[in-house]
């Protein structure tokens, strides 16, 4: 079993998807959990791809100061404070590419601190 997991990890790393594998895990069987880190002046990952109708949990953390996570198309608004994990749960009900942005003014690059949620079929 352990050998199987190790092999899967190696294959994942070889495919270049190791970052995604490290930041995505499964919560309850039906929900997808994605970790998002905020720091001046970017979100990582900056683009998140999910499936329509799949329950989603975003685990938001900050690497420096307070930031915001604002995804108005899905009514998502959260504060991200250093040293804490902010969990946001929702189920994307429409496909498309939706912008999210930091909505807590955080400095000279604040205006460019944004990302996109891509929802596919």
């Amino acid at each position: 079993m352990n050998r199987t997991i190790a092999l899967l990890f190696m294959l994942t790393a070889a495919s270049g998807a190791v970052t995604l594998a490290a930041s995505v895990r499964t919560g309850s069987p039906s929900e997808k959990v994605i970790r998002v880190t905020a720091k001046k002046f970017e979100f990582s990952p900056g683009e998140i791809t999910v499936k329509k109708g799949e329950p989603l949990v975003l685990e938001l953390t900050s690497a420096d100061r307070e930031h915001g996570f604002y995804l108005p198309d899905f009514g998502v608004e959260a504060k991200i404070k250093p040293g804490a994990v902010t969990r946001v749960s929702f189920t994307p009900g429409k496909i498309g590419k939706f912008n999210f942005a930091c909505d807590v003014f955080c400095g000279s690059g604040h205006e460019e601190m944004s990302g996109a949620l891509v929802v596919t079929e």
Partner: protein, 306 residues
């Protein structure tokens, strides 16, 4: 255009980020109750004009975006000073300075900005804070240099309300300021010409880029019973016009760099300077009210002439 020399105004237009307004209290700044009401106001109110400058971001450094970052504000001041007929006053609608994490640098920038604008011939200058000025320290340095974050003043029959939607880093007006606004409005007649000066839009222009004020709806609700309300603001670094019912909103251009149209690019990053077309994307709005003819003309002026 009253007695203002149109060529003088075109010079302002060439720089961008400057707004001319006249005939306050009359349409196109809001509904006006028809010709009879206009005539009544003509007797009690004088036409006047002011100049709006916005988003000067003093201290910004980005040669690819604006290689003349140290000179643009000074040019704007010189152009305003060169007008044959000086405006009644000048307003700066926020982001006077570019933000910094260093409190000393912030104060230095504010002092430099203050020194430059002190050379305006017009001594009546009104300041409004932007988030770059006030969000990181909740307006502490701003207040020291420029005074209160929200206040009112009256000019020739028009009531001006300056609203602060930036010193709270969450970009809200807040309950206390809203209560203050409601108390101020209670003293006014329903047809008083009201001009709101603020930094961020008071409507959901494009929330995906945070181009909104969270509790703006409460402000608009408070203003809605008043018949003549116009909002001048900045923040979005481009000209924009919007109506919320009878309330008109007019965004001014920046004096440092333009931003893309809402949602037109993946990020709201500054547009790059085009050496072949300096000040491309900048321009100015001329709102001209010929009150006696009940005729209102809005002219969009391009930056480049000829």
């Amino acid at each position: 255009m009253n007695d203002i020399d149109r060529r003088d105004f075109m010079k302002l237009a060439g720089l961008g980020g400057v707004v001319f307004a006249s005939g306050l209290g009359f349409s196109p700044f809001g509904t006006n109750g028809g010709p009879k009401a206009l005539k009544a106001r003509m007797i009690s109110q004088e036409d006047f004009y002011f100049v709006q400058l916005s988003d000067t971001h003093w201290g910004f450094d980005g040669p690819k975006v604006n290689p003349d970052a140290q000179g643009t504000l000074k040019k704007a001041v010189a152009l305003v000073n060169s007008l044959n007929e000086q405006p009644d006053f000048v307003v700066f609608t926020g982001d006077l300075t570019h933000t910094t994490d260093d409190p000393k640098v912030r104060r230095d920038r504010m002092a430099e900005f203050q020194e430059i604008v002190s050379t305006l011939k017009v001594k009546a200058v009104r300041f409004i804070a932007g988030e770059h000025d006030a969000a990181l320290d909740r307006g502490e340095a701003y207040r020291r240099f420029f005074g209160e974050l929200h206040y009112t003043f009256d000019h020739k029959g028009a009531h001006f309300i300056v609203l602060d939607n930036v010193s709270d880093p969450d970009a809200v007006i807040g309950a206390a300021q809203l209560k203050w606004l409601q108390a101020d409005l209670k003293q006014l007649k329903r047809d008083t010409p009201i001009v709101v000066l603020t930094h961020r839009p008071l409507f959901d222009l494009y929330p995906q880029w945070d181009w909104a004020t969270r509790d703006a709806a409460a402000v608009i609700d408070a203003l809605m019973p008043y018949q003549n309300v116009t909002v001048f603001y900045g923040h979005i670094h481009q000209e924009h016009h919007h109506m919320t019912g009878h309330i008109a909103h007019h965004a001014a251009k920046s004096l440092i760099f333009p931003l893309p149209a809402p949602g037109s690019t993946p990020k709201r990053a500054p547009m790059l300077w085009d050496p072949a077309a300096p000040y491309k994307g900048l321009g100015v709005r001329d709102v001209e009210a010929e009150v006696r003819k009940s005729k209102y003309e809005i002219t969009e002026l391009p930056v480049t002439k000829g």
